[in-house]
């Protein structure tokens, strides 16, 4: 899939690199014992350490290290036994220490790679440069006072994983697929909740453009903190177009930090440009290097769940699903788990069909997700059983599903209560067939003359008479027998 921007002078390609900040799921912060929970009263989840009181010292949260290692393993990446926390020095209102404790020269996770299955069936491999751990900053609130900005430090010190890709994405779609894939993996691993609206996953997007055939990179811009996949793709499109225009009009793109405005769909340069960036990184003397052992990493490896790529392969190999179906089902761990319950001991393809077409459709229309589905996996499985053992027809099953979705009831109960059980009693069906033939002699004659299509019309008549409960195959067979001259 090649995404090119046609300019006046040339075709331009995009070079996209992403830095994803993923908030680690933990009870307490990276270096202090205050809570990480979202939505608390301002400055309530703040310890003396987070507020950078004089003499306060950081002590690292073991679970955060485990989460970073786990994520690194999920990204097929090198885990570094030796890593170092450094201080990134800069002044900002929401950075109480005047430095962020981060990792620079020696991150905990090194090179890795992600495989993206694109919608057109192509496969792309994107390199991961590193994953490092760092502290989140606090929050600045600008709209509470005309002359002051208010500061809430609840988030200051929460553990983030910064996942840095190589600049190997070439289209907004690839960038979107990459972010969705990372999100899927961290959610499977339960190392980050992946919630972009609440900001627990944010992407900084580095974009540059170059003429097709050029090998060097041109100046890039960094668009900060884009909080949805859709916005990110919009930001990339806008930014690429803008840069092409700048180059083609004889100008030069400035290396700068930009912000995305979701209302206009545009990016703009940040007004508060930092002075010359000079972060003066150096190893944090309040901490020692992290020294991990192979045993520590093995213990984490043993707890790793099956990840989406492996699950997809298994669904295709063992359950015979198509690549597309398998891909759709493994995207979210909850969906895959749901599907597996439905498919357990049943026709996997039928189960996949029901989950993807019927359930997803209904959920989408109701603006619900799989975790809040009114139809449980057990109930959907039972519905499939009712179809399989001919208790109901596929058509009736759709009606039953609608009732299930609306009421959350067990399909067995619905079928019993509403008397939807398929009529398999041949005598009853035969009576309905005879009645239909007797009531419509002209049409019966047409069939006898050889108009096979008219059989279908008779089937409809019989189904109507039986409120759809007659077994369609039985009806068909009887009609054929009786109307064959």
């Amino acid at each position: 899939m090649s995404y090119l921007i046609k300019g006046e002078t040339a075709d331009w390609e995009l070079v996209i690199g992403l830095e994803i900040h993923a908030q680690v799921i933990s009870n307490s912060k990276l270096f202090s014992g205050s809570a990480t929970a979202f939505g608390a009263a301002p400055n309530s989840h703040v310890s003396l350490v987070d507020a950078a009181m004089p003499g306060m010292l950081p002590v690292i949260n073991k679970h955060c290290i485990e989460q970073a290692v786990k994520t690194g393993l999920g990204l097929n990446a090198q885990i570094n036994l030796h890593s170092v926390f450094e201080r990134k020095n800069y002044f900002y209102a929401d950075l109480p220490q005047g430095y962020q404790i981060s990792q620079f020269l020696h991150p905990i996770v090194g090179e890795g790679k992600l495989v993206l299955d694109m919608e057109d069936g192509s496969v792309r491999e994107i390199g991961i440069e590193r994953l490092h751990m760092e502290q989140d900053a606090g929050k600045s609130i600008h709209d509470k006072d005309p002359r002051r900005t208010f500061i809430d430090l609840n988030r200051a010190g929460v553990c983030l994983m910064e996942i840095v890709s190589h600049p190997e994405m070439r289209s907004p779609e690839e960038a979107g697929a990459y972010v969705r894939k990372v999100r899927s993996i961290v959610r499977y691993l339960e190392t980050c909740d992946g919630n972009m609206e609440e900001g627990s996953m944010r992407a900084d997007v580095n974009v540059s453009v170059r003429k097709v055939g050029e090998t060097d990179l041109r100046t890039r811009t960094e668009t900060k903190n884009v909080n949805s996949v859709r916005f990110m793709m919009q930001a990339i499109e806008y930014e690429a177009q803008r840069q092409v225009e700048v180059w083609e009009s004889g100008g030069a793109v400035d290396q700068e930090t930009r912000l995305f405005d979701p209302d206009s769909g545009e990016t703009r340069a940040m007004r508060s440009k930092e002075y010359a960036h000079d972060y003066r990184y150096f190893p944090d003397p309040d901490l020692l290097p992290i020294e991990l052992t192979e045993a520590f990493i093995d213990a984490i490896r043993e707890q790793m769940p099956e990840l989406p790529d492996q699950k997809k392969k298994r669904f295709m190999r063992d359950l015979g699903l198509s690549a597309y179906d398998a891909d759709v089902l493994v995207g979210e761990r909850e969906t895959a788990d749901y599907f597996e319950v439905v498919a357990q001991g049943r026709d996997a393809k039928a189960a996949a069909n029901w989950v993807i077409s019927n359930l997803f459709g209904a959920l989408k229309a109701a603006e619900k997700d799989i975790t809040s589905s009114p139809v449980s996996a057990e109930h959907l499985g039972r519905l499939l059983d009712l179809i399989a053992d001919d208790t109901i027809s596929g058509r009736i099953a759709k009606d039953v599903f609608e009732i299930m979705f609306a009421t959350g009831q067990d399909p067995v109960l619905i079928v019993e209560e509403k008397g939807l059980r398929q009529i398999t009693d041949t005598g009853a069906i035969e009576a309905a067939v005879d009645q239909a033939i007797a009531d419509n002699p002209d049409q019966a004659e047409e069939v006898r003359q050889g108009n096979a299509k008219a059989i279908g019309w008779f089937v409809g008549q019989v189904m109507q008479k039986t409120q759809g409960k007659a077994n369609p195959q039985a009806v068909n067979k009887l009609l054929r027998d009786k109307l064959s001259s």
Partner: protein, 493 residues
Amino acid sequence: MTHANELTITQARDALSAGDLSATELTQACLDAMAAARDLNAFITETPELALQRAAQSDARIARGESLGGLEGIPVAVKDLFGTQGVLTTAASHILDGFIPRYESTVTENLLNAGSVMTGKTNLDEFAMGSANVTSYYGPVKNPWKRDDGKDRVPGGSSGGSAAAVAAHLSLAAIGTDTGGSIRQPASFCGIVGMKPTYGRCSRWGVVAFASSLDQAGPLTKTVRDAAILLQGMAGHDVKDSTSAPMAVPDFEAAITGDVRGLRVGIPREYQIDGSPAEIDAIWQKGADMFRDAGAEIVDISLPHTKYALPTYYIVAPAEASSNLSRYDGVRYGLRIDGDSLDQMYENTRGEGFGDEVKRRVLIGAYVLSAGYYDAYYVKAQQVRSRIAEDFKTAFQKVDVILTPTAPSTAFAIGEKMDDPIAMYMNDVFTVPASMAGLPCMSVPGGLGDDGLPLGLHLITKPFDEETLFRAGDVLEKQANFTARPNSGGAGR
């Protein structure tokens, strides 16, 4: 007759347990001496009410026979770099105006739990940056030792207030912090014992940071035995400090045996520096002789990178300080000078809040860490630091303790060396190398210089071998028999 404030910890402990003296009497004697000696400017904040309250609690415990610990009822002055719950904590800087911590540093908490009584917060160089206690926002401290020329002398620094308070008997003992010599050099200038433990022995939690990889709390006392007792109350593993050593604290006082026979005492030839006054060589020689007389073995050793320790220190310490002091930004505590923008507020607050020496060091530190210079200065300095540490490691294969002078001179007059930062830095030339290697070390009064002012002898041992340090220091102290007394301040009241 000896006034209560002139007692050593050891003497006071005996008097308290014998019931000859109450903690309240002892504390009151110190408070009276402090009030009479305000001219020394040794304290930034006196805490008489808190002190008497704690002394009364101590007396009550003693009466009930449930004494807390080894420092029950002992008045201790605290360098104003330790965060103390509910008590103004300034680091002698304008930028911490009005800062009252809602927490207690681990070391002062340990002292409280050992039963000691804090009498006040002592003066220091601003953010512990200095060797003369002349950079304090609260004014210089005067050394209680006077000469007949009428000029006031510096007490050394940065724990100058603590050293002056102990020398002038304003308190039985004091605690300080030592980054490059800030306990030992003022101890030398004031004729008392000053001890810096191994890096990691005392928790840094709650102590205003200067240079995190070097800062250590330690005791300033009248005797070596007192130093052992006081350190016992301060030290211990602290889970709140990642660099705190997870080790049991030995019984330091029990290590004092009075016997150094067979102890190998190293004399590093590189501490012989060109142009050093004869009195320094003389006191050093005297120290070696005293050890030999006591049955120790004198061994010549080499610490080849000694001369590079001070310049290394003046890269590493300012680099760490420049970052540590970024938190003083006018937002969460202390001074705030407003401005039209966030950056202007920062610049105004820090421009006004920091004194000249702090500014110099923060700027040097920012410079050596900045793009293009990091490798040439900071990384290079940390490499040299590794070599300095190796030197000591090698030396300690041959010797048990190293003997050097503490300072290159006696106390100089307030106002001297003010216009030459490097001349001022040279005060720490003998103390900095051991700091760079995180080693335990101690200054013990050795005698008087030609000008009649005290000179210290400096001992260094292996990491976490404070026991040998106390044993050797005690013998040196007995041999030196330093009985001279400062001729001013609260002494003798």
